[in-house]
């Protein structure tokens, strides 16, 4: 994979936003609550999503936007166990 070297801070800024826009609008993800950061030719994505399909789609969408970057998908899955007890608010 071709490295782009250290991008200037300004272009890094717009790269982050291009990925975030794609993740929000792409129907495979529609995720607005992810954190995207760019370091050189590496892109890191964190956050939590409901399904493995959507977690995997995040990397696919990001790679489509930035084919010359290395995408690190650190997104985790929702935890959905039943609660063990309630909180008394009275």
């Amino acid at each position: 994979m071709a490295a782009t070297g250290e991008a200037p801070a300004e272009s890094r800024h717009y790269i982050v936003q291009r990925v975030r826009q794609a993740l929000a609008h792409d129907e495979r993800t529609n995720e607005l609550d992810l954190t995207v950061s760019v370091n050189g030719d590496k892109v890191f994505i964190t956050g939590t999503v409901p399904t493995t399909e959507r977690r995997d789609a995040i990397a696919v969408v990001a790679r489509e936007v930035l084919p010359d970057h290395e995408v690190h998908n650190h997104v985790t899955l929702y935890e959905t166990a039943e609660p063990t007890d309630g909180e008394d608010l009275s």
């Binding site: 529609n30 609550d33 939590t48 409901p50 929702y78 959905t80 609660p83 007890d85 309630g86 008394d88």
Partner: protein
């Protein structure tokens, strides 16, 4: 005891079917009702509305919901709402409902709510039509919420069910720059003016669970990435009046 289960931001898509069904079917072991604080779908498509409606249909406890911003994205919110209603879910927008639990009455006033920010650092209905429309949308929904909560006076427990946050407290962990897109103090003001026992919201996936309005009403952010369970449960002892009746 009144037991209220609540969750938000389940963001159902075609890939979500069955994700919460077993936990929902088991609700009677934990709660007397399920409140869903918006963002039931990924992007508000009719197909997603149908999937989440199937997940919520025929549950052993009453289900009450408000929609969230994601449920509006495809401009099919009316279709999403009717899928939910056909599945027996009560959907609130400026409306109220009551649920009876062993002779105690729980009143729920619901609205999606909207943004604008928080006292000292918020939008004002001033200037361009787009800015006025943004802030006035929140103002109108807050007014409906206040009216709804007032109409529930006399209930043993009153709950404000929102998608957007009424307070800053539960946004800790979110970036401060986006607070105006996460909620509005106008929602807290409505809750404080009318009075309530609990305000539930979602939307702030990176926020925290617990907060309180300036007037002292408890706030809980039940976004699923925050509560990290299928739902959280909040309990209330019935009011003193009911106790007196019960022990008379």
């Amino acid at each position: 005891m009144i037991r209220i289960a609540a969750v938000a931001d389940i963001h159902f898509g075609a890939d979500s079917s069955g994700m919460l069904r077993a936990q929902f079917e088991d609700l009677t072991h934990h709660a007397d009702m399920l409140l869903v604080a918006g963002d039931l779908t990924k992007c508000g498509g009719p197909d997603e509305g149908a999937v989440v409606a199937r997940e919520l249909t025929g549950l052993p406890v009453p289900v009450v919901a408000v929609l969230g911003n994601h449920d509006y994205h495809s401009d099919e919110q009316a279709t999403v709402r009717s899928h939910l209603e056909d599945a027996g879910v009560t959907v609130l927008e400026g409306e109220t409902t009551t649920v009876d639990v062993d002779g105690a009455r729980v009143g729920i006033a619901g609205t999606k709510g909207f943004g604008g920010g928080f006292a000292g650092a918020c939008g004002t209905d001033f200037g361009e039509p787009e800015m006025k429309a943004f802030v006035r949308h929140t103002m109108a929904l807050a007014e409906g919420l206040e009216h709804g909560l007032r109409s529930l006076e006399g209930c043993d427990v009153r709950v404000a069910l929102l998608h957007y946050s009424p307070v800053r407290d539960t946004l800790a962990g979110e970036r401060a720059e986006i607070f105006p897109f996460l909620g509005s103090y106008l929602l807290a003001e409505a809750v404080d003016h009318a009075g309530a026992d609990l305000a539930l919201h979602g939307h702030a996936h990176a926020g925290v669970e617990k907060g309180v309005t300036p007037g002292g009403v408890l706030v809980r952010n039940v976004a699923q990435p925050v509560i990290k369970h299928a739902y959280n449960v909040y309990t209330f002892e019935p009011s003193r009046a009911l106790h007196a009746d019960a022990h008379a």
